[in-house]
């Protein structure tokens, strides 16, 4: 689609894009301000808020928990999500049509309701450890990425290649690992990245599933903000934005960022 653009539209769009990015630079400015309160433009320059993060042990421990949860949750979601996506594509006629809708449920049910329900039923009634519930909650949260993004890759995969390998005597599991998987690797990488970043940033599920001694970074940030209004949070945010930059670099290198508009 290409028509002539009215100059006013270009101006409005430019303003929108500037407003999308500007607040993130404001965080960067606030993070280096030599004041005890959050302010922009920064007054003076200091890195002490960055060193302050590492002095507060809660940030360190929750960051580690967040990374563990995101890694194991995403890994579990892919481990069970990829076979599900494969089954849904390969055996479409032999599986009931509602089954694919089951994997949409984690998107449909509000996250905060899922978090609350998991706390009530799983942590308290079943007595499952907080860490395990947290990980399963995050695996559920990101399962739709595993099923749908990998599914999209499988939809364009030519299954006759797989049949060729099998008819030549290759065992099914080996066929999957050496023939199918390499062909859908872009989808798997994309699913992993989207799932990981979603899990790292999640608030609503973790909110109810953090207990004494165990919490995730976003929850710790919220808790810190309720007590202090100093630039420490700004510097933590800068570190999280660096993570985003890293993730975007990986997406650009593997799939190209335009992938995200599809």
């Amino acid at each position: 689609m290409r028509t002539t653009l009215h100059p006013a539209l270009i101006v409005i769009a430019s303003i929108i894009f500037i407003i999308l990015i500007a607040p993130l630079f404001i965080i960067l400015g606030a993070a280096v301000s030599d004041t005890n309160y959050l302010t922009f433009p920064p007054q003076g320059f200091t890195m002490r808020w960055f060193t302050n993060i590492f002095e507060i042990s809660a940030f360190r421990t929750t960051a580690i928990t967040s990374l563990q949860i995101a890694f194991f949750g995403t890994f579990l979601a892919l481990l069970i999500g990829i076979p599900a996506a494969y089954a849904l594509n390969r055996f479409r006629i032999r599986l009931p049509s509602w089954l694919s809708n089951v994997f949409v449920l984690p998107i449909l049910v509000p996250e905060i309701v899922l978090g609350f329900s998991l706390m009530k039923s799983v942590t308290i009634n079943l007595g499952l450890p907080v860490f395990a519930t947290l990980m399963l909650g995050h695996a559920l949260l990101v399962l739709p990425y595993a099923v749908r993004v990998v599914g999209a890759s499988l939809a364009s995969f030519d299954f006759s290649i797989e049949e060729a390998a099998i008819s030549l005597g290759c065992p099914p599991l080996k066929t999957f690992l050496t023939v199918v998987l390499p062909n859908i690797s872009a989808g798997v990488i994309a699913a992993f990245i989207l799932a990981f970043i979603t899990s790292i940033n999640d608030v609503s599920i973790s909110l109810f599933l953090t207990g004494p001694g165990i919490s995730t970074l976003p929850i710790q940030i919220l808790a810190h903000m309720e007590q202090f209004f100093d630039p420490t949070i700004a510097s933590v945010s800068v570190l999280l934005m660096l993570l985003t930059v890293g993730v975007m670099a990986i997406v650009e290198a593997t799939l190209g960022l335009t992938f995200l508009t599809k």
Partner: protein, 275 residues
Amino acid sequence: MIKRLSPWILAGPASLLVLVFLILPVGSTLIATFTDAKGWAAPYATFFNSGFRRTVLYRTIEISLITTVISVILGFIAAYVVAQMPGRLKSIMIIAAVFPLLTGVVVRSFAWLILLGKNGILNSALLSMGIISEPISMLYTEGAVIAAMVYLFVPLMILTLAGVLEGIPKDVVEAATSLGAAPFAVFRQVILPLAMPGLIVGAVLVFTGSFTSYATPQLLGGERQMMMGTLLYQRAMVTFDWTGASTVAAIMVVVTIAIVMLMTRLARRLNPMAG
């Protein structure tokens, strides 16, 4: 035998995870609101008899609707421009939309805390221009929540619509133009109807996202602008009123699913490419 069961064996673990850790827990939360000792659906009577909780529900609907309308308009304009930009500029614009999207809700809401705070950039600007004589409190207002939510959801809208708008065949637009349609007529009669399904999908995502949000109303609205998400948390973790919390949860689920189903049906009916 194994062969016949293999689809189920492959899809089984994932289905089981959804069943055990989503359908059953959420189901039990919903059922709890109907099996209260005080009588069938009594928790709903409690909810709707409380002026405070009713206000929270209405406020949540109002904020979500306003957020959706503004996000749709701004997102459409931005996506429309993105779809027609040459390659290089387009990538820059997509990066500008993806970056905030991949940055967490907490960080993005926090940015507005700095913008709107007492020592924030907006107050400093207004002070230096002499419009106000002392810092005004902009936080904990409905406007603050809406501003941050629009900021949250515009990137999502842009990315949803950019793909849809790029997919509109340029022949269709050219045909309309060469047949003498004015630019606005092309927009209203050709582009808008073709973009409608994407627009509806985006609007649903924004509405349900706002309706069930927690971090943004918590940070920018506080107690004064309590929304359904913050009410659910307050009921469950501050007052330990689990029945009350479950009722809030049930209302959230019903509203979300009703909106999704209604709009999916509407999108199907409005899709000019279908049937």
